[in-house]
């Protein structure tokens, strides 16, 4: 039993598009410890989205190995993948991906619905999480009635409600202005403090700078994996 929550060894992934094969990930090794806050950076086409999808069990990989909480994640049935996602991973997206015809409360409660939690219980829990995000008064509003920052906070509440071990955030601040971005990052920091591993994919340096470690991807390989100097001086020693 290691303290790694995510361990990736020599990961390869190609997309086959007709006759063309696109080698997106060319041997990636990552080791993420439980409770870390990490950002993955890279220009578009560097493979960061693909990596995130694999981490989120939304996509399969061709070669190598992926251990999530010491469980090997291989090609699995959708049903099983759905269960893993529900249990371990909370997603946050750039475009929030809230369901437009459901209220904030219903959106937050949705993952519990898939866990067959009773309606009353999951709504109470959802309200609690919304309260933590400071959105209790907005519980019965539709996503279209919320601002971008509020939407992202609803999305974070939804990601948290299933009590995941990891939060995967795909450009969580991409659609937000700087002030709101920092607010969201503050929330993610707080989340991280409760022991949940946070992985953020971003291309904004200042956002990445607010995490403990930055993994830079370029052309499908890891260019660097540095502990941010500004944040924790001593952790560089560990590497």
């Amino acid at each position: 039993m290691s303290d790694s929550i995510i361990k990736i060894e020599n990961l390869h992934k190609s997309y086959i598009n007709g006759k063309n094969s696109l080698h997106v990930l060319k041997g990636i090794d990552i080791d993420i410890k439980e409770g870390e806050m990490i950002s993955i950076m890279g220009s578009s086409g560097s493979g960061k989205s693909t990596l995130l999808n694999i981490l989120g069990i939304l996509d399969s990989y061709d070669e190598g190995a992926y251990y999530l909480n010491d469980i090997v994640i291989r090609k699995m049935s959708e049903k099983k993948a759905a269960r893993f996602r529900n249990k371990y991973i909370g997603f946050i997206f750039q475009s929030f991906n809230l369901i437009s015809f459901k209220t904030a409360l219903e959106n937050v409660a949705l993952p519990l619905y898939y866990q067959n939690v009773k309606r009353k219980k999951r709504n109470a829990l959802a309200l609690e999480y919304l309260d933590r995000m400071g959105l209790k008064e907005w519980a019965n509003h539709l996503p279209s009635e919320l601002s971008g920052g509020q939407k992202q906070r609803v999305a974070i509440a939804r990601a948290l409600i299933s009590n995941p071990k990891i939060i995967l955030a795909d450009e969580p601040t991409g659609a937000l202005d700087t002030t709101t971005s920092y607010e969201v990052m503050d929330i993610l920091h707080e989340v991280n403090k409760t022991g949940i591993t946070v992985i953020i994919v971003t291309h904004e340096n200042d956002i990445a700078g607010r995490t403990e470690r930055i993994i830079r991807l370029k052309d499908g390989i890891i260019e660097s994996s540095d502990y941010a100097i500004t944040e924790t001086e001593d952790s560089t020693v560990v590497l």
Binding site: D59, E78, A82, R85, G90, N97, I99, K102, L110, R119
Partner: protein, 424 residues
């Protein structure tokens, strides 16, 4: 199946896309509606045609005489000949499998001007000579009095039974005609009954409602028919083929009257059983056509639903992607989509079934009213569909809904969540 979120999901999906859902539902509605109306109409036609003849002895046949077409035993062709009383005995003696044989006289020569008179009332009606057994071939109810009986035949009583129309014209409303007299072609006959045929649509030579039946022997005597018989009506015994009996009867008749056995024309004949079989095939054909068209319409509706569902899935790809990213299993999503399509098709189909049945009912009422007003015979009656057909149509709908949902559902699940999320 019955939890609130799933239904909420369905309702919101339908509510959000009112026009699309309406059009989809209309496809199924129209399919079922057409099926119901067509089957109902087919049944109405069948009822209308068979209603006026279903009580007629179906295993019956008729024979009459035509001029000969083949010279035989010194007789030249084109000879005019007639059946007579002796033929009946000969047929009874020589033909096995025969159940009833009833000779009839048709008083064509009596139908001149207003031949029936009572007091100041006078009208033209047909006159027939009958045996009591004829009632077994063409059953009727007696509105007043009794039918002709054997004593009437034996004693050649001057009595008559009359059709409903004759009663209406010659008697006052609610007047009891039994015992009253009618003058038929100058001879007085006592009315012993008023009959109402159970088969008003089968009329041989004259409209039964406008007919007067005399005892056969009375008619022969009174109006100078001698021993002549105009035609024989007969039925076969149970389990015996009428056409075989008919062939034997014709052979006997030919022997009796020196008709060439090869002469196909001399004995005219009609086999009701054969005709009924033909009508049966016609209706079978109509039924098959109705079902083919109806099921075709239904399939078109189902394809419509399936197509719309595909569009819905395409539109909701992202939503499905989100649901799966946060832990919805494919089974749950498939279940959701199928429930949605079954819901839509069932509701639409049920409405189609209801409105179709309503239309049939309205038509039925309209027909009843118009046929009550006029004396015309209706060839369309009681259009309706059976409960079993209604139930099977509903079942078919649900199956349709499942299939219509399954195709897009499988497609929805095949889309990888990432692709779904990237979908803009």
């Amino acid at each position: 199946m019955f939890d609130r979120d799933r239904w909420q999901e369905i309702f919101s999906a339908i509510r959000k896309n009112k026009l699309r859902s309406m059009l989809t539902a209309f496809g199924v509605f129209w399919g079922i509606f057409m099926l119901v109306v067509m089957i109902g109409s087919g049944n109405g036609l069948k009822n209308g045609v068979t209603q006026g003849m279903k009580n007629f002895a179906t295993n019956s046949a008729f024979v009459w005489t035509n001029n000969t077409t083949v010279p035989y035993k010194g007789f030249k062709r084109g000879r005019n000949w007639h059946f007579n009383n002796r033929d009946m005995q000969a047929i009874r003696d020589q033909v096995s499998g025969l159940d009833i044989i009833a000779p009839r006289l048709s008083g064509w020569k009596l139908n001149k001007g207003e031949n029936v008179v009572r007091g100041k009332k006078a009208a033209a009606f047909s006159v027939n000579g009958d045996y009591p057994v004829y009632r077994k071939i063409d059953p009727c109810d007696m509105v007043y009095g009794r039918y002709i009986n054997d004593d009437d035949i034996r004693m050649k009583r001057k009595v008559c039974i009359i059709g409903e129309r004759v009663y209406e014209v010659m008697f006052n409303k609610d007047e009891n005609p039994v015992g009253k007299y009618l003058r038929v072609n100058g001879v007085y006959f006592q009315v012993i009954g008023v009959f109402r045929s159970k088969n008003p649509k089968i009329n041989i030579g004259s409209n039964k409602k406008e007919s007067i039946y005399l005892p056969f022997t009375t008619m022969q005597n009174t109006f100078n028919y001698g021993d002549r018989v105009h035609y024989f009506t007969m039925t076969a015994k149970k389990g015996v083929d009428v056409s075989k009996v008919l062939d034997k009867v014709i052979a006997v008749l030919k022997r009796q009257h020196n008709i060439a056995p090869k002469d196909e024309e001399a004995v005219g004949n009609f086999n009701l059983q054969k005709e009924i079989k033909t009508i049966g095939y016609v209706f079978l054909g109509i039924d098959i056509l109705i079902w083919i068209v109806g099921i075709g319409t239904l399939i078109a509706g189902a394809v419509g639903v399936s197509n719309i569902m595909l569009v819905i899935i395409k539109e909701r790809t992202k939503e499905i992607g989100i649901q799966r990213a946060i832990g919805a299993s494919p089974l749950k999503i498939i279940g959701q989509i199928i429930t949605e399509s079954v819901f839509l098709t069932t509701i639409a189909g049920f409405v189609g079934l209801a409105i179709g049945t309503m239309v049939l009912k309205l038509v039925s009422i309209a027909i009843e009213q118009s046929s009550a007003d006029s004396q015309e015979e209706m060839f369309f009656l009681n259009p309706q569909i059976g409960v079993s057909i209604a139930v099977s149509a509903l079942l078919m709908l649900i199956v349709t809904g499942i299939i219509a949902g399954l195709i897009p559902a499988r497609k929805a699940v095949k889309i990888k969540p990432i692709e779904a999320l990237r979908h803009e």
